[in-house]
């Protein structure tokens, strides 16, 4: 917008690079909107059109009809994996929240220098490839890895099922997704006026009460934003369940990949995609309702 206006002005002032008469004829106020057209075209072509294509395939491949959705809901595997996917993602969201909240709080009370360090620690893993980090976990957590080796030699227990288990998958995913929880919560906490807590204490609230009645409700936007981001990103994980989990931890993305690239059943693969999209939107709408009306922790606010 700024760019268009300045070009316009420059054109007027210097008199070159445009036809002043033509510019004058047109009303000025809407022209900046033309700049939105590329974005509009890109969004419709690269996001909307494929989505429409995916939906059409799900009801027309190999023949027109709802057979792919019938298959989807009558095959027990699909429902098991769908529930597992939402369950794992929910678990990871909770784990991230429990770790990120104190961490983000710490970031609000330390000096600028320390805060930068804390921020670096949380961002650093984000700059490394997921694959590399997951392979590192694999080496650490496997039955013959250092952790189980230490447990065995020191305490004579194990090997504990650290990988090929929900624990391994949740650990790997939480590490990757933690920054997406810390950053929104930090930005929410940073905005809270610190004097509110002494004020609450002054009015007779004990620290716990002050936290749950004053601080936590004020940080709700950050909790909500972080949780939604982590939950949605978590639904699409592929490589971490494949490497740190067993077949019993495989998630929806693997099932889709299998239908699309393994079996070449694009109708069924796209039906799975549409199902996940719809289910995710439904979950978000429900959570959104919940978050707007009352607190996320409705039971504890009193």
């Amino acid at each position: 917008m700024v760019h268009a206006t300045s070009t316009h002005n420059r054109g007027k002032r210097s008199g070159d690079g445009g036809d002043p008469a033509r510019l004058a004829r047109e009303p000025k106020n809407w022209r900046p909107f033309l700049l939105l057209i590329p974005a509009f075209v890109i969004v419709s072509f690269f996001f909307l059109a494929p989505l429409v294509d995916v939906f059409i395939r799900s009801i027309s491949d190999p023949v027109l009809g709802i057979q792919n959705y019938v298959w989807l809901f009558t095959t027990p595997t699909n429902m098991v994996v769908a529930l597992r996917t939402f369950g794992t993602s929910f678990l990871v969201t909770i784990v991230c929240l429990l770790i990120a909240y104190p961490y983000a709080y710490l970031m609000t009370i330390v000096s600028d220098r320390t805060r930068n360090m804390l921020q670096l620690f949380i961002m650093l893993p984000l700059w490394t490839s997921i694959l590399v980090r997951t392979l590192a976990w694999l080496v650490l957590l496997q039955d013959t890895g250092p952790i189980n080796g230490l447990l065995q030699s020191l305490f004579g227990i194990g090997p504990l099922p650290l990988i090929r288990s929900t624990f391994g998958v949740a650990l790997g995913m939480s590490q990757v997704l933690l920054p997406f929880m810390v950053l929104p919560i930090y930005s929410a906490l940073a905005k809270i006026d610190k004097r509110l807590l002494p004020a609450a204490a002054n009015l007779g609230a004990r620290p716990v009460t002050a936290f749950f009645t004053v601080y936590l409700p004020l940080s709700r936007p950050g909790i909500f934003a972080g949780s939604v981001t982590v939950f949605i990103l978590g639904l699409g994980f592929y490589i971490i369940p494949a490497l740190l989990g067993s077949s019993k931890e495989i998630m929806m993305s693997a099932l889709m990949y299998q239908q699309i690239s393994g079996f070449l059943m694009w109708g069924q693969g796209t039906a799975l995609g549409i199902f996940m999209l719809t289910a995710t939107i439904v979950v978000l709408v429900l959570v959104g309702r919940l978050a707007k009306g009352t607190s996320l922790f409705a039971g504890r606010v009193k």
């Binding site: 909107f33 033309l34 419709s44 693997a254 393994g262």
Partner: protein, 372 residues
């Protein structure tokens, strides 16, 4: 936005943009340059006339790793050097191939697929071979299993076991793989997204079943046999993972691709193959349906099948050559992993049955790899 005229213009502009892009998109897929047929004479495996494919670009799509690098160094790059063509490498993905064929814009010329892939997709996803353009006289007997392929490599699904775990008393049959009393420890089995009929056949062979007389109901029986191993069975989703599990000792035994077992042994792990009972695997060299320059693709495959090229390929990848005259110089370790030495004790797959019952197999496979 208050101006209605603006709204109309904006709409028209957006529509114009959409139409332009659509036209551009369609035009890209349709036109193909007319291909001149060159006179190459009678094909001889491993030979291509000098400079005949000047300016032609070919792409080989396969599954990567030392396997594809070795094939590139042994055959595709030398072919490019002599014929004047440019040879590119890409990663194969069946879904991507289907998208190319469906849209009529095929950018691959030669691919590596399984025998089951080419048998199922012959004529729809893969081009039928014109065997007058490819010299198949030196191809091992029985390895051409449908009209859309020549063999790519001879390898196997073999039991690779840890010699430290079972030094003097190694497993000697498919049944031993399932005997956790005599051979304690974890086993790794394919749970990759790619359906593998021979993993099923292996379990049936362990029960003493004749692979050439399999019924649909046997498929679940086979998976139940793996499931009955309980915590002692772990899965691999990629060849690299299988190798890692063997090398690290996570698994004391694995039903893995022979090249991956060799990979673990070559890296110094105490891993040896069990040849008493194994599954013979043949990969297809296939040409995508609607390939831009069939003659060049056939000529490249013809070159790939040469004895020298196959010897070199085996030396670089450990996978068995598909030319009976090939004499690869292999060291002692590589020799213990060469499938071509043990063809007598191997089970060949019942391809017809699996092509016919692919849907039943893929449904059961989907359950197996997702733990349900």
């Amino acid at each position: 936005m208050r101006n209605p005229k603006f709204k109309r213009q904006l709409g028209a502009l957006a529509l114009g943009g959409v139409v332009t892009l659509l036209i551009a998109g369609c035009a890209g897929g349709g036109a193909a340059a007319p291909v001149v047929e060159r006179d190459l004479g009678t094909p001889v495996a491993g030979v291509v006339p000098e400079g005949v494919f000047d300016g032609v670009t070919l792409t080989y799509a396969a599954s990567g790793g030392i396997f594809q690098d070795g094939q590139r160094d042994a055959a595709w790059d030398p072919f490019a050097k002599i014929s004047g063509a440019t040879f590119l490498q890409d990663a194969f993905d069946a879904g991507k191939l289907k998208a190319m064929v469906d849209s009529g814009n095929v950018t691959w010329d030669v691919t590596n697929a399984t025998q089951f892939d080419t048998a199922r997709g012959c004529g729809t996803l893969y081009e039928e071979y014109d065997y007058s353009q490819v010299d198949i006289s030196k191809v091992p007997e029985g390895t051409i299993t449908d009209k859309c392929m020549v063999p790519n490599i001879l390898y196997g699904l073999v039991v690779a076991y840890n010699t430290d775990a079972f030094g003097d008393n190694p497993p000697t049959s498919a049944a031993d793989f399932f005997d956790t009393e005599k051979f304690p420890g974890k086993r790794t089995v394919s749970q990759s997204p790619y359906v593998d009929p021979q993993t099923v056949e292996f379990a049936l062979a362990a029960d003493g079943k004749d692979i050439n007389d399999v019924k649909v109901s046997d498929i679940e029986t086979a998976f139940d046999k793996y499931r009955a191993l309980g915590d002692d069975v772990i899965g691999w989703t990629s060849g690299a993972q299988a190798q890692q599990q063997l090398e690290s000792g996570e698994a004391v035994m694995g039903l893995v691709w022979s090249g991956r077992g060799y990979g673990a042994a070559a890296a110094g792990a105490p891993i040896a193959p069990m040849w008493d009972e194994w599954m013979i695997m043949v990969d297809s060299t296939a040409i995508p349906k609607g390939v831009k320059d069939p003659q060049a693709a056939f000529a490249a495959v013809n070159f790939y099948l040469g004895a020298d090229q196959q010897s070199r390929m085996t030396e670089l990848t450990s996978y068995g050559p598909v030319n009976v005259d090939a004499t690869p110089k292999v060291d002692a370790l590589l020799n213990t992993w060469l499938t071509t030495e043990h063809l007598k004790s191997g089970h060949a797959p019942n391809i017809d049955f699996w092509v016919e019952n692919y849907d039943a197999l893929s449904a059961a496979w989907a359950g197996w790899v997702t733990g349900s």
